[in-house]
Symmetry: C2
């Protein structure tokens, strides 16, 4: 079997999207990243601020946003409009031929409205095993375009849906893993997975499944880091080559951050 | 020379975009339009309403919007976000494989910030003879995708710009006229160019340059219709096969409206 072409899927959070200088730095280093690549972004506090300015109350349950119709309009405007188009324009200025997409565009990501159990999350979209239109995304990559996904998807029946950006990134990575050697890169506000949460320099360079089990048993990896790493190992199990957790400013540094494999 | 493939470029105004039922009807008939096609849309009063809700004063000079930075944010959110993604999702629901684009996406439309003469229009983008990335748009059409353009473009240096949707539609038509037999279709609130403005059924079926001169001399075509028709004849002169002015509800009816050739 011949070597598969490399593909980097990079996820950035709202904290980068909403800071002009951080976003300028990030788009510059993303533009210079070699090979095929996809960007996935949230929109973060801009959406909450806009909702606030419009008198729409932010509804949260268990740390997750409840997407009522008014909130859906706001996140569609902010994520798929303002944030997405600004990022694309900045990438273009850095000679990166970016194309901004929601999941509705080219039917790239089709989700289902989250079923109502105890909580009605409203217009929240959940992934299914066939959500990612692999062939379509591949055809865009083969035009030497760099897709930039906002966290808005659709259900194929005319309804836009708000979808978690981390989930989109990992679903894209898994969906494209049979066509490319995928590196999934989560940029966040820390330099990686830390062995001492109080020490920013205590980055654990590599974690495999055995080491993960040990780190959990020792209590070094705990709380919010557990679902992140569980998702990372799930992606690895489904064919993604490696998952990297690093600071956005370290995107260009191949040796920075924590590599999960 | 072999016959060129047909391409329809359809422009709809904000009055359709903002009315749920009109938009449902329109997206259904656009989806059923045969052959390759491109949609260009405005966003109209939704942008003004949002600006109003946010306390941003709409600035107009000579009937044209002054795009200050706050207004640019609003139109980017409404045109490229809310309106564009809703239209794309509705088209997808009608089995039309639409892809929503601003001019920044894939560098499809690169404009220049309007030079300040007596009036500073702010972040308004003007077309140049090389604005349309013909090859890129053609490559998307050849993936059997149907581009849906919002009226947001970019200058290639990271700046988004607000651009007139009519102008985008005619620039696309002219830019693609060497590759396709282009019909440029302007949908508006009348059934076509009327010989009697008080009679909705007095549609002039066909207008060529000779007839246009006569109709102007007779005062039958006057006021706001003159720039529209001047632009139409300009497009014809630059290779567009025909320009059709019709009601959005008549899109499916090949014989409806006024054909300029």
């Amino acid at each position: 079997m011949k070597d598969m072409e490399k593909l980097s899927i990079v996820k950035i959070g709202g904290n980068i999207v909403e800071q002009e200088e951080a976003l300028n730095r990030f788009t510059k280093s993303f533009a210079h990243l070699e090979g095929r690549k996809i960007l996935v972004h949230g929109g973060g506090k801009i959406a909450s601020k806009l909702a606030g300015d419009l008198g729409i109350e932010a509804k949260m349950v268990n740390g997750r946003r409840i997407t009522d119709l008014e909130t859906l309009k706001v996140v569609t405007m902010v994520y798929a409009g303002l944030a997405n188009k600004n990022i694309v324009a900045l990438l273009q200025a850095n000679h990166c031929d970016a194309i901004g997409l929601s999941g509705a565009d080219g039917d790239t990501i089709r989700t289902v409205k989250r079923p109502v159990k105890t909580i009605d999350y409203g217009f929240a979209g959940d992934m299914t095993p066939t959500s990612i239109h692999t062939k379509r995304i591949q055809s865009l990559l083969e035009l030497n375009l760099f897709p930039v996904f906002s966290a808005i998807t659709h259900n194929g029946e005319g309804q836009l849906l708000n979808t978690n950006a981390d989930t989109i990134a990992s679903a894209l990575a898994i969906g494209l893993a049979s066509s490319y050697a995928v590196s999934l890169i989560y940029c966040f506000e820390k330099k990686g997975v830390l062995s001492d949460i109080a020490d920013d320099h205590s980055v654990i360079t590599e974690i495999d499944q055995t080491k993960y089990t040990a780190l959990r048993e020792q209590g070094i990896i705990a709380d919010g880091m557990i679902p992140k790493l569980d998702n990372a190992f799930d992606a690895i199990a489904q064919g993604v080559k490696k998952v990297i957790i690093k600071h956005a400013d370290d995107l260009a540094d191949e040796h920075a951050g924590t590599t999960i494999f």
